[in-house]
Symmetry: C2
């Protein structure tokens, strides 16, 4: 009737093969304002100190600290004000012994000044201040380079440029930076049973879920998603779309058509155009994965069931995208105690969606066909090939969605 | 010389005032494919069962389970194959006693069938199968509504429509949904000392960081960011831009100009156009916050220091945006043990950026002027007004960025 999956590839083997088929993306130069959440393609060394001048941390009076020594409520001192330094301006005069300059928060200290006296600790009378308290050298002064030191490594290649990192680059007056170009990922769904959401439901047909979850996940990663539609089970059509996709995209994702039924034509189409490298991987859910190579580009057939297809995406596609971008991300992991005993299969890498409640990880076991099981979950736990039982109450690491 | 901040508003008071000044956004109807990461504005009740027909979970043979009872290796049974049901098709015949139909994974069961025999447990010979094993009713069958039950509450108003939830809606053939319109947020930086990144650095001037961090954060929330530039310390110009901003946007954010130096003109500008409601809040960092009302719209002046402005954004603007959208998000919190003793001020709500290493929370204390302190952090902990000391090793909740 048909051949079975044969020997399944392990998750590690599958990843290794996939990674060998995708190349690191080229760099492109972008204006800083257009680089939000892109991946930095160069190390950035600070080219200026931040701040690059000694500035006041307070509204007050710039002084030489030693001139204030001994001042107290019972022994006030007087200092003439020689000028007023506004923010954004520089002092016109240099400070001499027993003088002070009125200074705004953020304004540069005049030459020779080494401390700022807070407004609250003195009294301004005409053109002088009466001070009741001493300050120590450096008090209320923000030093050159105290935030960022010139020459220090500011950001590493691979940083995902969230707002905080964009801010760091702005502090340097960085106008343009090298980032990785966004991967272009083509996608189609296959299967005579798959209906577009505008289609009329009838027995035997189901609405296309995977194009929404997979295209949405591609876009969330900042990649370009090229949707090629829902294809009928027609081998020539599938071959034609594979070739179109590989013209446009870095690689092709598709779903459906690799569960080895008689109607599974994708594997045949790939075989005729190139090579099938893996057919089936030892994971649960998400076994029916097809890894193929056509014109030296990757074709990754995801499992047809919605939850399976998404897990395939999380465990295979996400790391592949990060690899193409050279992106270094911290995984979002929280710990929790599993609320029931879980029995897993030796030799299969298992992914279990869980809901988190306080520090409890509540498994959601609805089967791999159920999209609802994933929608209810906050993340998932991984049970490796060599683990058969997770006891109730065991501490587990939960990868957040 | 100038007035001080006077009585600071508490964080809760400040939030209450801010929330009273923003309205819930109107709804708009969107095609499902355009609704990624938007906020659902209606409850969604499942209008169809998923699956909406009884389907096979395996490639195999649809049978009446009772016909298989007693079958074993030593007592094989035979059943004639009456037809072959492909995926996407419906059975042409109804099953009678002691018949079977060849069936593909995902194809609908023929009438009267209640189980599917796996290919592995039988042998196909000509137009019949020889079976060596019994099946129980329901075996390898995915029942109507087993994923989603018609009439059940599928998604709640306020759900942020990530790919998994979009998938859930697709399963129903949902073409259009009501979502909240995106908030429009105007922003400008003020200050004679602030340079655009294209400007020439000189003493006393600093590059504009806040426009990058704040505009980036607005965009990350899916809101429209309207940038009005860097304004000089010119009260009439500031007034004009406030009026322009409030024409276009739901509210106005700005940074700089509220630290009460002599050059702080924003508060005056707001006073002349409308009303200053709060000047200074009891938080650290980020005290110099200005809350104003002009033409019944909110003006929120963020602290000028980059880290302070961002904390203001996290604690005031993020919850406000969620309120405008009616968005229900799970906070991303992990637990950790703080690696050093922290002394805080009674009466001030404090935010401390931390780096996470395994289960340790490592405080980053560089001062509120330092953008680098935030860039190094993974999240922050909150120390409320009534807590003075966090002992080394204490367990803390870390809000992830």
């Amino acid at each position: 009737m048909k051949q079975g999956f044969g020997k399944l590839a392990s998750l590690e083997e599958a990843k290794k093969i996939i990674f060998s088929l995708v190349k690191e993306k080229e760099n492109e130069k972008l204006r800083l304002e257009n680089a939000l959440n892109r991946v930095l393609a160069q190390n950035i060394v600070a080219k200026i100190d931040v701040p690059h001048f000694k500035k006041s941390a307070m509204d007050g009076f710039a002084v030489m600290a030693e001139d204030t020594f001994g001042a107290s409520n019972t022994n006030p001192k007087e200092l003439p004000i020689i000028e007023r330094i506004k923010i954004g301006q520089v002092a016109k005069k240099e400070l001499k012994s027993n003088q002070c300059a009125e200074i705004a928060t953020g304004a540069p200290l005049p030459k020779n000044a080494d401390a700022v006296l807070m407004v609250e600790y003195c009294e301004k009378v005409d053109n002088k201040i009466i001070l009741y308290k001493a300050v120590t050298p450096g008090e209320n002064v923000i030093d050159v380079g105290s935030d960022i030191k010139k020459g220090s490594l500011l950001l590493k290649k691979g940083t995902v440029l969230g707002p905080r990192f964009i801010g760091l680059l702005a502090s340097q007056g960085t106008k343009e930076i090298l980032v990785k170009k966004s991967p272009k990922i083509a996608y189609f769904s296959t299967g005579d049973e798959i209906l577009p959401i505008d289609g009329q439901l009838e027995e035997g047909k189901i609405y296309d879920i995977n194009s929404f979850t997979i295209l949405g996940s591609i876009k969330e990663q900042g990649c370009d998603a090229l949707f090629l539609g829902i294809l009928e089970d027609d081998k020539e059509l599938i071959k034609q779309k594979i070739e179109e996709a590989l013209e446009m995209a870095d690689f092709l994702l598709l779903s459906g058509g690799s569960s080895l039924g008689e109607e599974d034509l994708t594997a045949e189409a790939v075989k005729e155009l190139g090579e099938v490298l893996v057919h089936g991987i030892a994971v649960k859910p998400g076994k029916p994965v097809l890894i193929g190579k056509v014109k030296n580009k990757l074709i990754l057939g995801l499992a047809g069931y919605p939850a399976s297809a998404l897990f395939n995406f999380y465990i295979l596609v996400l790391p592949m995208i990060d690899r193409m971008l050279g992106a270094k991300r911290k995984p979002r992991i929280v710990k929790g105690k599993i609320t029931k005993k879980i029995v897993s299969t030796i030799g299969r890498y298992e992914f279990l969606p869980v809901r988190i409640n306080e520090d409890r990880a509540i498994p959601i076991q609805k089967g791999s066909s159920a999209i609802a099981s994933l929608a209810d979950a906050d993340g998932f736990i991984e049970i490796d090939e060599n683990t058969e039982v997770l006891e109730k109450g065991a501490e587990v690491e939960i990868k957040l969605f």
